[in-house]
């Protein structure tokens, strides 16, 4: 092109204008994302209670994290919850999506209803389910004579976490189902027709034809579900407040509870920073493991 030189000059001035617009955004992001992250690390090096004076104690908090029973328990609970949630939600939502993708009556109404839990806030949903676990299920147990239902699930350290999984799944399934449905719609009908000629059907059809084609959607769902589950907070707040006897304290809840009002500002800051590293490591592992497959999208 003839006016290449002129164009280059034009773009240089252009670059500067773009830079002028970029800088305020970067400052804003640094101020409310990176800076608090760095400050959090700094607080983690102190014995700050959240008020009053404090001293720098070096890496002591970080060392103590690994021997603190309550922190250990919260990590165990959070990971148990996240893994069980991810598996349960993905299995159920995949089955639902396969059903909802068939030629069925009232398809759009059914899809609409199955999506409803996703739009509702976790806190209020938790309060509603809390009533189900505390009153409805025991009443059902009473009426039918089913023993294990007669006591509230939320009252026992053995079952409280299952109740939280049920509520979390009730909401999480909605989202994953809709993503699986959009995945199933990308599978061309010819694939099935070709499969039919080869006499593939049922399970085999699903594993050898459908599943490989919706693999990218599977990995999206895995990552999303895991990430949401690791940050569980609202449901804990409304269902158990971490109880009974701290058996359902998620990491987020522990940071909130002990850090904000428990006088452990410094210690929980260290916990939060380690939690951040854990999230980063998990995300990278997931991307490394699933990333190559996602490229096909």
């Amino acid at each position: 092109m003839g006016n290449e030189g002129k164009r280059d000059k034009l773009w240089t001035k252009n670059d500067k204008i773009f830079l002028g617009m970029l800088i305020p955004v970067l400052i804003l992001f640094f101020l409310f994302n990176t800076l608090p992250l760095l400050k959090g690390f700094y607080y983690g090096l102190t014995n700050y209670k959240g008020y009053g004076d404090f001293d720098i104690v070096g890496l002591r908090n970080f060392k103590d994290l690994f021997t603190d029973l309550r922190v250990g328990k919260s990590y165990l609970f959070t990971f148990k919850y996240a893994v069980v949630m991810t598996i349960a939600v993905n299995i159920i939502s995949l089955i639902l999506a396969l059903g909802l993708n068939r030629e069925i009556r009232g398809k759009s109404a059914l899809r609409g209803i199955y999506f409803v839990p996703n739009i509702l806030g976790g806190l209020v949903v938790g309060y509603i389910f809390s009533f189900v676990f505390t009153y409805i299920l025991p009443a059902v147990g009473e009426a039918t004579g089913i023993g294990f239902l007669q006591n509230s699930m939320l009252a026992s350290t053995k079952t409280a976490w299952i109740a939280i999984v049920i509520v979390g799944a009730w909401q999480g399934i909605a989202m994953n189902t809709i993503i699986y449905i959009s995945g199933l719609q990308t599978v061309p009908a010819e694939v099935y027709e070709a499969g039919m000629i080869d006499g593939v059907s049922g399970w085999k059809k699903f594993w050898s034809l459908t599943f490989p084609l919706i693999l990218p959607f599977f990995s999206i769902n895995l990552v999303l579900c895991m990430k949401n589950a690791l940050m569980v907070f609202d449901q804990i707040m409304s269902l158990t407040k971490g109880g009974p006897s701290q058996s359902t304290e998620s990491i987020s809840y522990l940071i909130y509870n002990n850090g904000m009002s428990g006088g452990q500002f410094g210690f929980q800051s260290a916990n939060a920073f380690v939690f951040f590293i854990v999230i980063v490591v998990i995300s990278f592992l997931q991307m490394k493991f699933l990333g190559g497959k996602e490229e096909q999208l």
Partner: protein
Amino acid sequence: MGKKGSKGSEGAVGGKAVNNVINVLLAIGCLTILFPIYMTVIIAFKKPSEMTNDVAGALGFPASWSFSNFAEAMRVTDFWRSLGNSLLLTGATVIICILLHSLAGYVIGRKMAKLKLFKVSYFYIVSGMFVPFAVLMMPLVKQTSQMGIANRFGVIVLYVVFFMPMNIMLYSGYLKNIPLALEEAACVDGASIWQTYWKIIFPNMKPMHATVAVLTAMSTWNDVMTPLVIMSGSDVNTLPLAQLNFQSQFGTNYNLAFASYLLALLPILIFYIVCQKQIINGVVNGAVK
């Protein structure tokens, strides 16, 4: 999709029968979704005296459909003010996100390939997605109170920054659908970058605005943690936060509590019924892209 299309994916004989079974199973499955909602409505309309200790006591129809629980719940939780705050926070956040993030997404997306600084900026901001709010929570509480923005304004600022990574990724990704020639033509006609952006790029990003609006609005509307920790101590409630803060006042009056829960769920349920398609599209787009 016509019925002919389904033949291919159904396998041979009995496809119709299989579909009927699936139909019934899916309808039954729906009950697990509808049951908690039904229960909420029923309890919200009942009087405490009707709540006997058996299943029928909680789930049977109320003796009369009176709205007195709702009136009481509105009074106790200061419903209109909470609703106003929720609308303000969500509305302001969505508008600022659409205006600012689309511009930032454009600025970064257009220069990423050419200038390293923009590429680095992109990865710097997008990597913010790995930072959960719980990690930033404590320093942000200190920081916002030091800056004197431990209020609704501060919460909006935090939302705008918190959704920035996701939204910038969505917007700059969408930019690939808008041909560069469009801008260059405007540029040759003497339009400034600013004019070009608002007249050409911004309207062309409309589908992405819808996605961003839905995702941002839903996360903001249902969020509890940010207003809980940032505005704690003030008596400013959002709709979900009010449910948390008034738990003690509900006491064992579940009818009052459920009337309040139903009121808290109603706005988003209505919004969903009106714009179901846009919401589902938005959520899927946001996740898949």
